[in-house]
């Protein structure tokens, strides 16, 4: 890991904003888990609890001109990118006021107005899409970085190697963000990768890379900013490995036979939110009332999201085949 980054004078408002985003993600995910147990949310649900610092920190390095491609564990990225909690909750309810009209569910959030090009459920399936978006930007001389989030499992897929090679070969503005949470569903990293220092994979394609503690939101922010700046300078793609851990099961149906409770507890000790609150407290940037205020406003925002979803209409069945193709111009 690179040396501890010096944090330039940390601005209080910015710090509170980071903290609120992380707490929003945490409470949103807890509410999603609750709603799953009573059958409001169905199908698959992959929670982001524990990895909040990655999405929040990395998102600080991206502008509204940048594009995002993520995976099926994308609630954190979507919230950090600014997709309204209500539209995400409604999508998980399968309602027509969901961000994908109830068509995608938890694994397929889309919001083109915020250049959020999806949750993708095929491991590694999003990488070529990100390469293509970057190619389009480059060919149209459009400023913009395409940030592509993927897990350590995707590193096993051929498309990871093909995408890094093509992006490096054509010097495309792709910021590859590997969220290494040490497990590809039920397979520990050491059991699915021969070389577990993922950052070093980039050397094979002559591509700059870095790794950072994914539990430290400020470190993530700094590393992501540096990586994004490198990409913006037109030097081609960058691979940033964010080392993190998920406190919950892979998905709602996972009895977690593959890891020890002890290990989970050890990582929980580095809870990104608790760690950040402690750091800000030491620096006198935050007091207990600030946390209560954030928790209260987040709780309200999550409740509003649930009401928005509950009130949402079902898509009319007559629209079943709408949008399979683009309607012919009249």
């Amino acid at each position: 890991m690179t040396a501890e980054r010096a944090v330039p004078g940390l601005d209080r408002d910015h710090a509170l904003a980071l903290l609120r985003q992380m707490i929003l993600i945490r409470r949103f995910e807890e509410k999603a888990a609750e709603l799953y147990t009573v059958g409001k949310i169905r199908g698959f649900l992959h929670l982001y609890i524990g990895e909040e610092a990655v999405a929040v920190g990395a998102m600080q390095a991206l502008t509204s001109d940048d594009s995002i491609v993520a995976t099926y564990r994308e609630h954190g990225q979507a919230l950090a990118r600014g997709l309204p909690a209500g539209s995400l909750m409604a999508e998980m309810y399968g309602k027509a006021n969901g961000c994908s009209r109830g068509r995608g569910g938890s694994m397929h959030f889309f919001d083109v107005s915020r250049r959020f090009y999806g949750g993708h459920a095929i491991v590694g399936g999003g990488l070529p899409i990100a390469v293509g978006l970057a190619l389009a930007d480059k060919l149209q001389a459009r400023a913009g970085v395409t940030a592509c989030f993927f897990g350590d499992g995707a590193v096993d897929e051929g498309e990871f190697h093909e995408s890094l090679n093509l992006a490096a070969l054509w010097k495309l503005p792709v910021l590859f963000l590997c969220e290494n949470n040490l497990y590809a569903m039920g397979t520990a990293l050491t059991r699915h990768q021969s070389q577990i220092d993922i950052r070093r994979k980039a050397e094979a394609y002559d591509l700059p890379a870095d790794a950072v503690d994914g539990m430290d939101v400020l470190a993530v922010e700094a590393s992501a900013q540096a990586a994004a700046d490198a990409v913006r300078r037109g030097g081609g793609p960058f691979l940033l490995e964010l080392r993190t851990y998920r406190f919950r099961a892979h998905s709602m149906a996972d009895p977690e036979l593959y890891r020890e409770k002890r290990e989970v507890e050890e990582w929980k000790a580095c809870d990104p939110i608790a760690a950040f609150v402690a750091k800000l407290g030491e620096r006198g940037l935050l007091g207990a009332p600030d946390v209560v205020a954030i928790e209260t406003s987040v709780a309200a925002e999550v409740e509003d999201a649930v009401r928005f979803a509950e009130a949402g209409p079902w898509e009319p069945v007559e629209d079943l085949t709408k949008d399979v193709y683009t309607p012919a111009e009249p």
């Binding site: 888990a33 799953y36 147990t37 059958g39 149906a253 009895p255 409740e303 069945v317």
Partner: protein
């Protein structure tokens, strides 16, 4: 009981981590549950104090069952109650627009392949049949109705009886016309001494209860059936321009209908039935033919037909073959005639048997052997 996996419908409590009186906080693990995917911790979403545990370890309960009662702290956000049933809109069946049926070419008859094949076999002109299928299409049932003719119809208002009779007349007419047009008939006749058969029959009926008495017609049918074993080429149908040998001997028996007209349903495997069974089958067939209860297989299965007009006082019958069959046997009335027996002239009951056969399939030599076999078989009625 929380839904913990995508397809979970019930769960078994393995152990409680809390007991009544314990305080619980949102997010705490309060129990362990066995699901289809294995052991999963149960998280509590309310904070408060456990009052009572309703489901003990070891019990399996459907998802949604209340497991424990918690006295909630004031101010905790209520979870929206689990819906009894998730109000998913009932999807009206998505009716795909049926592929637009290209307009059938004008003058083109809308008839199913099966119906067209059956009509050809029964010698029915489809054009004369009114279709009851979609868009007036003619279906198998329509042809069978036409074939069974009036008998098949339940006693209906006279007008439709007349229609049916007219239609049956047309149907029989079409079949006979086609038979005459297409089948090169040859005719043979012989006179058979029925004395042995009639004396045997009178003795046989004395021992049989009224309901089991035999008619001499049954002897004639059995003799024809057994004779066909010796001349199998007469037991066949003509289809697709070639003769198709009968897989079995199904003798069609011409039955006159009380309201006029005729049908010739099949007595299945007539060669293999004993005289008693054959008589029962024969009586049942006539009863159903006249009551309109024939099965379609009985109409399409005969491999030869026997027609007997003796009771109408006719001595010799010159019948027309029923397409697609290739032969037909006719019997006239039983008459007393002088008959030479060992040089002596005696009076004997005789009957004239005629054979009309399709010269494309058999020739007179084979037809003659057949009639000789019928004659020979009738001389030993006990062995029929």
């Amino acid at each position: 009981m929380p839904i913990l996996t995508a397809d979970m419908s019930a769960g078994t409590i393995v152990e409680w981590r809390k007991k009544p009186g314990d305080a619980v906080k949102r997010g705490e693990i309060v129990a362990l549950v066995e699901t289809d995917k294995g052991l999963i911790d149960v998280e509590i979403f309310a904070s408060g104090v456990i009052e009572t545990i309703l489901v003990e370890p070891g019990a399996t309960v459907p998802t949604g069952t209340v497991l424990a009662v918690i006295r909630e702290e004031p101010g905790a956000a209520p979870t929206p109650a689990a819906p009894a049933a998730i109000p998913v809109p009932v999807a009206p069946p998505v009716v795909l627009a049926p592929p637009s049926e290209a307009k059938a070419a004008p003058g083109r008859l809308k008839i199913s392949p099966l119906a067209r094949k059956l009509a050809a076999e029964l010698g029915i002109d489809p054009a004369t049949v009114r279709g009851t299928g979609p868009g007036g299409a003619i279906r198998r049932e329509d042809i069978e109705q036409a074939a069974a003719g009036a008998a098949a119809a339940a006693p209906a208002a006279p007008r439709t009886a007349l229609d049916r009779q007219a239609r049956l007349r047309q149907t029989i007419g079409a079949a006979m016309a086609r038979s005459k047009r297409e089948i090169p008939h040859y005719y043979l006749a012989t006179t058979i001494d029925l004395h042995p058969a009639m004396t045997w029959l009178t003795g046989e009926n004395l021992e049989r209860p009224v309901g089991d008495r035999l008619l001499y017609g049954v002897l004639l049918i059995k003799a024809v059936a057994l004779a066909l074993r010796e001349v199998p080429e007469l037991n066949a149908v003509w289809r697709g321009g070639e003769v198709v040998p009968g897989q079995a001997i199904h003798v069609g028996v011409a039955v006159s209908l009380r309201s006029g007209g005729l049908v010739a349903p099949a007595l299945h495997d007539a060669d293999r039935q004993g005289l008693g069974d054959l008589m029962r089958s024969f009586r049942d067939l006539v009863r159903r033919a006249r009551a309109g209860g024939l099965r379609s297989s009985e109409l399409s299965d005969p491999t030869i037909t026997v027609t007997s007009l003796g009771e109408q006082g006719v001595e010799t019958v010159f019948p027309i073959i029923y397409p697609p069959q290739v032969a037909i046997v006719g019997f006239g009335k039983v008459v007393e005639r002088p008959w030479s027996v060992g040089g002596q002239i005696v009076s004997r009951p005789v009957i004239t048997a005629t054979l009309a056969a399709d010269h494309r399939v058999s020739d007179g030599h084979r037809g003659g052997r057949f009639l000789a076999a019928v004659d020979r078989l009738l001389q030993e009625p006990g062995r029929l």
